[in-house]
């Protein structure tokens, strides 16, 4: 089978805050035999504009992203939220421009969230983090809203975590409940957002897991920020790619 050419959509938050998640995604895809290209001009998928009511901004960024990524066999993002924005929203928000809508639809069908791609397209048997033993002990998984409810990301990260020796999954109560991040919601309604995050953190702590793992950096920053403000300095907050990839 021909090598799959994958365009890695790093996402703006990973670029700014946690480059190691991008490198972890890169390692996972390359280890699985993909040729991975990171388009240099990529910025943001435009979801913040779309969700804030700036349709023209969202349309312009969608077109830019489509032009950058449509040459690859697949587009993969270490985020259910950004991945879904390309996959579900692009065809909608470009609905009134037939040519762009068709290009969006074509790209959408080849766009994946990282764990979904590893499990359902690459069908990986093992992950590099298994041999590394970087993360050991119990982890609990936070299902990020868009990945879960729009892209059906539920079993994929769990199946992959099960392949990492020394890592045990301990489910928390309300793992599918929103953490309160919500993009700009977190800064427009900080009080409510932090109160919702507190419920999530209490569930994380009650699970007794050593680390909380998720697939979207926005949620993870929210959960980590709240845990630390609550005085918890020990529970690790990790992106699933970091656990699966091991040392990068």
């Amino acid at each position: 089978m021909a090598t799959k050419r994958v365009g890695l959509f790093v996402t703006c938050l990973v670029d700014l805050m946690r480059p190691r998640i991008g490198f972890a995604a890169l390692k996972l895809l390359e280890t699985a035999g993909c040729e991975v290209i990171v388009p240099e001009g990529q910025t943001c998928c435009g979801q913040p504009a779309w969700n804030s009511g700036d349709a023209p901004g969202a349309v312009a960024l969608a077109k830019k992203t489509i032009a950058e990524f449509e040459g690859f066999d697949y587009v993969v993002a270490p985020s259910g939220s950004c991945g879904d924005h390309v996959r579900t929203e692009y065809p909608t928000l470009l609905g009134e421009e037939p040519e762009w809508r068709d290009r969006a639809t074509a790209l959408a069908s080849r766009t994946y969230e990282l764990t979904d791609f590893l499990v359902n397209v690459l069908k990986v048997d093992s992950v590099p983090g298994d041999a590394d033993g970087l993360i050991q002990g119990s982890v609990t998984y936070h299902d990020s809203c868009t990945g879960l409810r729009s892209m059906g990301i539920k079993e994929q990260p769990r199946a992959l975590l099960a392949k990492v020796r020394g890592v045990q999954l301990k489910e928390m109560d309300g793992c599918e409940e929103c953490c309160g991040f919500g993009g700009t919601f977190s800064v427009k309604f900080g009080e409510v957002s932090a109160a919702i995050a507190e419920r999530k953190c209490n569930n994380v702590l009650a699970s007794g897991a050593k680390a909380v793992v998720g697939g979207d950096l926005g949620c993870l920053l929210n959960i980590e920020g709240k845990l630390r403000r609550m005085g918890n300095d020990t529970t690790q907050v990790l992106h699933v790619a970091e656990v699966l990839a091991g040392r990068v």
Partner: protein
Amino acid sequence: MEIKSMHFKANVSAKLADAVLQGNLKNAKGKFVTKRAEAIKDLDDFEATRDAAAAIRNKVIDNLDLWLERFEQKAKDTGATVLWAKDGAEVCRLVIDIAKKHGVKKVTKSKSMLSEEAGLNHALEAAGIQPVETDLGEYILQVDNNEPPSHIIAPAVHKSLDDVADLFHKIHGTPRKTDIPALTREAREVLRGHFLSAEMGLSGGNFLVAETGSVALVTNEGNGRMVTTLPKVHVVITGIEKVIPTLEDLSTLMRLLPRSATGQSISNYFSILTGVKKPEEHDGPEHLYFVLVDAGRADVVGGDFHAMLRCIRCGACMNHCPVYQTIGGHAYGWVYPGPMGSVLTPLYAGIENSIDLPHAATLCNQCGIVCPVKIPLPDLLRKLREKQTERGLRPLTERIGLRLWAWVALRPALYALGARFGARYLKWLASGSDRIRILPAAPEWTQGRDFPAPQGKTFRELYAARQKTAKEST
């Protein structure tokens, strides 16, 4: 009802600080969410039932005028009078006219959210007619200085047992008690007299059946039956979108409504009321009026928010909403709280009066998943945000900020430079630690939580360096 939705943000802080409310919300959440999840397991195919329900509602709202005419004709055939109200003020005027015509001094009411929209109780009192709320929750609120409801099916859900114990002690002048059955009995004893003496009963309507001209009522306390059968006059007030074609359709929708609302397979009472009392019948009203209300609904038909008219008012969206679960219903400032309210309030009470509401959602889509008629609530909230921006209703700084950000994101070199600077600035703010305590650019974030420190360099910088090293070594 007075519109207070513009004060959403100011309301939120008070609600978060209210320990009693927080406790009550926690209890309610557990009850509603768990019971619904259990109840939908009874259905062989919940998703297919949702599809069927959405199709029924679509069929009606896509040809609303036609179905309303059919309903009107059938209802008239059964001896009912059908009246049309274009807004809340007209609802009040029509109901007062009916009351005066029949010499009514007292009206018993079962729950009607439309009467809340119209501010009917206030109007009745001003006209010298006594309205008596008979739904236990609504009764509690009415005797507590006409407090507005905070939930569409559990209007007093924000109150604690102690609140009600104190209230009944004060209002009824009876010894204070905290036994729920005893409190309920006390309310029943008070209400019984009203049921017998009221000359007019007023109800909402869960559905209007076009095929038979009937109104279907879903209740749990039996008060609905007292209100609709004892007085000589029964007035049904409901929105024009509540019509459905057939009794068969009613059975489909009833598989979903109680399950979605309270987690019951069927409500304690379910009535299908058709026409006035016939000579051979023993009970029922001699006069039946339908007041069918537009109040903004007709303007929604065929537009961007058309799907919202499918709503069957079950309240599942608010029960499952992380924001509602955190602040309760009063903060939303009008009749309908939660996700449905954040769509309906801008549509019916004015988009300019509800600047915060469409934004007061994380777009987690839990509401969309539980909605029995599949209303894409997050999409509608997003669309409202777009309308606000188009009309220049959002703060100028936000609009400029968004445009500027998009402008930069379209220019990769500039964006890369900005990100490079941003990563270093944030790293500096953390001053060597793993967290930022105060984030000047987004103070609301760090009010209640820290902001984790970034690694310090952007991915694109590190990746470029890595590529360079790889190139040099080959």
